[in-house]
């Protein structure tokens, strides 16, 4: 059976069809990810120049029929040497890590509740998680601007309840940034967690109870380790975009909320220093890839079994 399938697959139309199906997404990725990435990489090794675009070409035809490739490493040296950029990186990672942890603490009970709810309820709760995606991301962050403002409903409610005597400064604070981050990325945490918890065989929990294990202990001994893959996936899906996040810290954070996404934006549009912005983007990509590889390694080492 398998052999005959292989024979069909190797030649003829079926083989071509299969090749096409595989090639199409790779072609798409190459066109819209690999090519832009190579362009950014090229700019990162370039130099500023008053022109449009404001960079020196890396590859030039010099006279005498010589192809000239000039790679400037100065951008990387500059970025790595300036403590401002290092601080922005560390700060981004810290904010992203705390946001991820908060999203996990909030998302796990949510996902658990949805996975254990009965049919109709499950669909309704699921809809609530996905519902925010029906509105633009930017719009939702702007909504928080209104909600958290000095005269916004949050302050209004707190004043009415006499919990505070004058409006709190909520915007332009780390609190607002964390709130925005957790709010925006929570669905990305909940969805993989839900699918992991939903797959968990409930008789395992019965077996644990039968062997004398109380429900809370069973959660840590059985449920948590067996949904680890969902936890990893959810954390990656939140952490990676959170590190490079620009919109949320720009709108909700104060001037002291230094995140790498904002630094890249400033270099690009403020200073018109495309090469430094590109170098920052490349370093960010390298750091995040490192994180993913590390996590994958941990996961494959611990998860020897299914």
């Amino acid at each position: 059976m398998i052999r005959s399938l292989g024979r069909i697959g190797r030649g003829g139309e079926a083989g071509l069809g299969r090749w096409f199906v595989i090639a199409l997404p790779y072609f798409w990725l190459a066109l819209f990810f690999l090519v832009p990435f190579l362009i950014v990489l090229k700019i990162a090794f370039s130099n500023v120049q008053l022109s449009m675009p404001p960079v020196e070409p890396v590859v030039t035809w010099a006279t005498d029929k010589v192809l000239q490739v000039r790679l400037h490493f100065a951008n990387f040296a500059f970025v790595l040497g300036d403590s401002l950029y290092l601080a922005a990186f560390l700060n981004s990672i810290q904010i992203a890590a705390i946001s991820t942890l908060l999203a996990l603490l909030l998302g796990y009970p949510m996902a658990y509740g949805i996975a254990r709810a009965s049919g109709t309820w499950r669909n309704i709760l699921f809809l609530f998680v996905v519902l925010p995606f029906f509105t633009s991301f930017l719009l939702r962050v702007y909504a928080w601007l209104g909600l958290l403002g000095r005269n916004g409903p949050v302050n209004g409610l707190l004043l009415k309840l006499h919990l505070i005597s004058e409006p709190l400064q909520l915007l332009q604070t780390p609190f607002a940034v964390y709130l925005g981050m957790v709010y925006s990325y929570l669905p990305f945490m909940v969805l993989p967690l839900y699918s992991a918890i939903e797959k968990l065989d409930l008789t395992l929990l019965e077996a644990a109870a039968d062997l004398g294990c109380r429900p809370t202990r069973a959660f840590f001994a059985i449920t948590l380790p067996l949904t680890r893959e969902g936890i990893f996936a959810g954390c990656l899906l939140v952490f990676i975009p959170a590190v490079g996040e620009y919109v949320i810290p720009a709108l909700l954070g104060g001037p002291d909320t230094l995140m790498i996404g904002r630094v890249v934006w400033d270099e690009f549009f403020g200073n018109r220093d495309w090469p430094v912005a590109s170098a920052l983007a490349i370093i960010l990509l390298a750091v995040l890839s490192g994180f993913v590889l590390l996590l994958q390694k941990v996961q494959s080492r611990e998860g020897a079994g299914p």
Partner: protein
């Protein structure tokens, strides 16, 4: 090897060890278990036997504590455990799917129950090793469940359930996931283990052969009720209802009317047989009552020659033969059109066997037929 039995043996000899008192479980409008009362003695292997949806698993789950009874009570060793949560019951269960923890090794799986009791490390190690050697899995300590065969997983599940020395071990279709050969071997291993440890077993199964092999007593269930409780012999030879007679083993069943009802014998007119069936004991039923008559296939003898005159002799034509080696199964059609199943042992190697379409005489002993009134 000797393993100490469950501690706290406080019930006096002869008193029931497990007492189920008018237990009912309702799921909405559906009654899964209806007014079941049952007593199980210490050291017994008790089998709950029935088809799917008969309530046997619900009853077992109530014993384990996973379901709360709607009505009634459960006593184990004299203590009312009806509302005790599963993690505090002196009961362990072997799940049908085994429910081994996939992220733990064999050793960790077996040790899990002992860890919950905060058993000292050294003692825990000893007991786990002892249990694994008892189920012949020494050397597999570091394997994960997915690296084991079906039979090995079954034994890990058994070891995990037994290591806590429960007063009562519940087994849900313990051999259901094994292939036939392995099942037969494991049946005997299970009985041996039970005898060694003296733990009381309650087994749920739909497989009547499994129940007959394992059980000291069987409870036959249908639609949430226990129809009959008895030893395998009782259940097979003296079924108390049509359902039990039909469910256990193979049987020829027909309807009839009591025409003669004496204390030492009854005569039942069976239109489908075209004759009256003679039974050598009285029946507690009103005269002219409609009854069912059940005759096991192996209790009918076939012969070419007409037997001497007597009761329970019929003649018919062989319409089907299945030679199975140890026995041969025949289908014999009576003049009325009714087809009887007959099983005959193959005692001699050189034997002139009966053939298809041959006319034969059937005869059964006066005690062979069972009369049931419901």
């Amino acid at each position: 090897m000797t393993i100490p039995t469950a501690p706290g043996a406080t019930t006096p000899a002869g008193a029931p060890y497990v007492r189920i008192d008018h237990l009912t479980k309702r799921f909405g409008d559906f009654i899964a278990v209806r007014q079941v009362s049952l007593e199980i003695s210490r050291g017994e292997i008790f089998c709950l036997l029935g088809g799917s949806g008969c309530g046997k698993t619900t009853l077992l789950r109530m014993l384990a504590g996973f379901e709360t009874p709607t009505e009634g009570a459960i006593y184990i060793d004299g203590t009312d455990v009806t509302l005790v949560p599963p993690y505090e019951r002196p009961v362990n269960m072997m799940f049908q799917s085994y429910a081994l923890f996939p992220h733990m090794t064999v050793e960790q799986n077996v040790a899990f129950g002992l860890q919950q009791d905060r058993t000292p490390r050294v003692e825990m190690k000893d007991r786990v090793a002892e249990m694994l050697s008892l189920v012949q899995l020494s050397g597999y300590e570091k394997r994960k469940p997915h690296q084991l065969s079906g039979g090995q997983r079954q034994r890990v599940a058994l070891a995990r359930a037994l290591v806590k020395r429960p007063k009562l071990l519940l087994l849900d279709e313990p051999l259901g996931a094994l292939d036939k050969k392995l099942r037969e071997r494991t049946q005997f291993e299970l009985v041996n283990l039970q005898e060694q440890l003296g733990v009381t077993f309650v087994i749920v199964t739909h497989d009547q052969e499994e129940a007959m092999t394992l059980a000291s007593r069987i409870g036959v269930m249908r639609a949430g009720e226990i129809l009959q409780v008895g030893t395998p012999t009782d259940i097979y030879e003296f079924p108390n209802s049509r359902f039990v007679a039909d469910f256990i083993g193979s049987v020829n069943m027909t309807e009839g009317k009591l025409v003669e009802d004496e204390p030492d014998h009854v005569l039942i007119d069976c239109p489908q047989f075209g004759a009256a069936v003679y039974v050598d004991h009285g029946v507690s039923a009103p005269p002219d009552a409609q009854v069912s008559v059940a005759i096991r296939p192996e209790k009918i003898q076939l012969s070419r020659e007409q037997p001497e005159q007597g009761h329970n002799v019929l003649s018919g034509v062989i319409v089907g033969i299945a030679y199975l080696g140890d026995v041969t199964r025949y289908l014999v059609r009576l003049p009325t059109g009714f087809v009887l199943r007959v099983t005959a042992p193959n005692v001699y190697r050189h034997e002139e066997r009966l053939e298809q379409d041959e006319t034969v005489f059937l005869r059964w002993h006066e005690s062979a037929a069972v009369v049931v009134t419901r």
